[in-house]
Subunit: 349 residues, 2 copies
């Protein structure tokens, strides 16, 4: 371990003196994700979006529980090997995580960063491992289309029309094991975590909950700008700069906001929400969203490409829109937050 000073990097980043590693990942998605372009990168896509339960919220909990069980099986780890879980979801009071994770009996840090939660969970999980507090932790996030629609928008039975700026909440859970060494029992980790850039709440005064890309793009721009500044990187030093769920409209805003600052990410930007669905064929409008969107795209598509060396280094920036139906109905704005994580191939320095 190096001393404390050299782990702080610039204004809002951390660079790990000894990198923590993403040992393994698991992701389970719903039926619509199973019809999308990334279907083959997920471990499982279920046909029953109720996951055998009688409410949408219990379904999301079952999704989390199944994903963690799968992750532990893929990692050859038992409950007792995991020191902490860092987890969150979109439900009020995190009930999907509570009932999804309680049977594991593992010390839990409950997190809420809206759809940025996977970035928050990996950041804190990596800091915990690199700080010497744990050798193995799990970080995860989930969302479910139907529980999110019920929480934030309209009951499904109402059959409301959706504007083209709206996104489609992903039914999915992505989970990773983060460990303190490159190899565990002879198995090489999937990726290394070089550092993190933690986001501030950014409010541009947008009040349209059906256009969350516009709400979140300024927060993503702020994290990307500060990450590049703190690490003294050019955008093209990343093979991809990957936001969570900005969608088509948010992507345009993000690229344009950064251009105004002299930063061009148009060549290497990717958005998980744009990738996960075929918006024309699947009628998903601006793209996918929900904290399960970036989490499951990370745990499938992104980590596959990093492990195989297709990408050497990416900046993963899940993005969250901070609202509830109460804040929205009381006329509050919808501020955004984003959390950046530098994920790289294990052979990269």
């Amino acid at each position: 371990m190096s001393g404390r000073i050299n782990q702080m990097k610039g204004m809002q980043s951390v660079e790990f003196a000894e990198m923590p590693y993403i040992m393994e990942s698991a992701c389970i998605c719903g039926s619509k994700e199973g019809e999308g372009p990334l279907k083959d990168t997920f471990d499982t896509c279920v046909s029953d979006d109720m996951f055998g339960c009688d409410t949408w919220e219990k379904a999301e909990s079952a999704l989390q529980e199944k994903t963690v069980n799968l992750l532990m099986a893929k990692s050859s780890l038992a409950k007792k090997d995991i020191r902490y879980i860092f987890a969150g979801d979109l439900m009020g009071q995190l009930i999907a995580s509570t009932f999804g994770l309680m049977n594991f009996e593992i010390p839990l840090f409950g997190l809420y960063g809206a759809c940025s939660t996977m970035g928050e969970a990996i950041s804190l999980g990596a800091m915990t491992v690199a700080g010497g507090y744990a050798d193995k932790i799990i970080a995860l996030a989930s969302s479910h289309f139907a529980s999110a629609e019920k929480t934030f928008r309209f009951p499904l039975e109402y059959g409301n029309q959706r504007p083209y700026s709206a996104t489609w909440t992903v039914t999915g859970c992505g989970a990773v094991t983060i460990v303190d060494r490159k190899k565990v029992d002879g198995t090489m980790a999937k990726a290394a975590i070089k550092g993190v850039t933690t986001g501030k709440i950014i409010d541009y005064g947008v009040r349209d909950s059906m256009n969350m890309g516009a709400c979140m793009a300024p927060a993503a721009a702020d994290v990307i700008e500060n990450n590049l500044k703190d690490f003294n990187y050019r955008p093209d030093e990343y093979d991809k700069i990957i936001t969570g769920d900005l969608g088509y409209i948010g992507q345009t805003i993000l690229i344009s906001l950064l251009k105004e600052k002299g930063i061009d990410i148009s060549e290497n930007h990717m958005d998980c929400g744009i990738e996960i669905f075929d918006s024309e064929k699947q009628d998903t409008h601006a793209g996918g969203s929900g904290c399960g969107c970036s989490a499951s795209v990370l745990c499938g598509y992104i980590l596959n490409n990093i492990k195989t060396g297709v990408w050497k280094k990416v900046l993963f920036v899940p993005t969250g829109a901070l609202l509830s139906t109460v804040s929205f109905n009381e006329g509050q704005t919808v501020p955004g937050i984003a959390h950046g994580v530098i994920i790289q191939n294990v052979e990269v320095e």
Copy 2:
């Protein structure tokens, strides 16, 4: 910094090789808390529980903002000096924290641990400082009687009767600065943080949201038992073992659960929810609750007693009941979680 191995302690604790310090604290409470026995230990008790706002949620945000401003003034720190905020509240999607903290423009980790949130925030904040990721952070939690009643129970206007097992949500916010050294600019810190014990979700199958003490007591018992085991302490090595908001009924259950394990804390147990109100005169039934309860009692009464050496070492264990109206109405149980922090006088080894 010591190596990574020796910071893990037992099954679910961390012992800091270099202790982080609670430099300063601030707490602002509402009018009812201003009539209670601890009123002189709070920095301010307001007479206007709306904090000049037009909704209860905005009032809670204003409470957070005022508390952080007060904390920074008391600590002689500016926004730019604070590297992270660790914060949470009880509102769905953490809207009290979002709108209360966004003007500070400080990187934020949003947390949800129900009424255990102050324990979670201090744990992660202390781990962040001791891990070398920050020199100064803020940890805080808030609750507001009226926003919590609206979220979890009934509108105030309905005037429902409350069973004697019910608690009264505290209107209050407590915030601390955690720093990496004992003295900042010649000023001695209020307390040191020796270690933390992170809680698991514990579910005894209780379904009564009006008896949250019973829901949370098993989680508190589990954290206290594991803390004593991990640090090899006897209960009487703590001047006080302080739970968050178990109230009278939860206290009885806690003491009895631990007695069954051969652990007697009856002499040195204290509960913030019992201390903050005079339940007979103030009609608060089982006691105070809400994450603002343990946070404001910590930031006033507890830290005062530690700073002046009345108490050398305490175990601070905020306790949370994990439910939402959705989970409750769908027939789910109310599991509990608790997070323990060892807080001691700065002169104690």
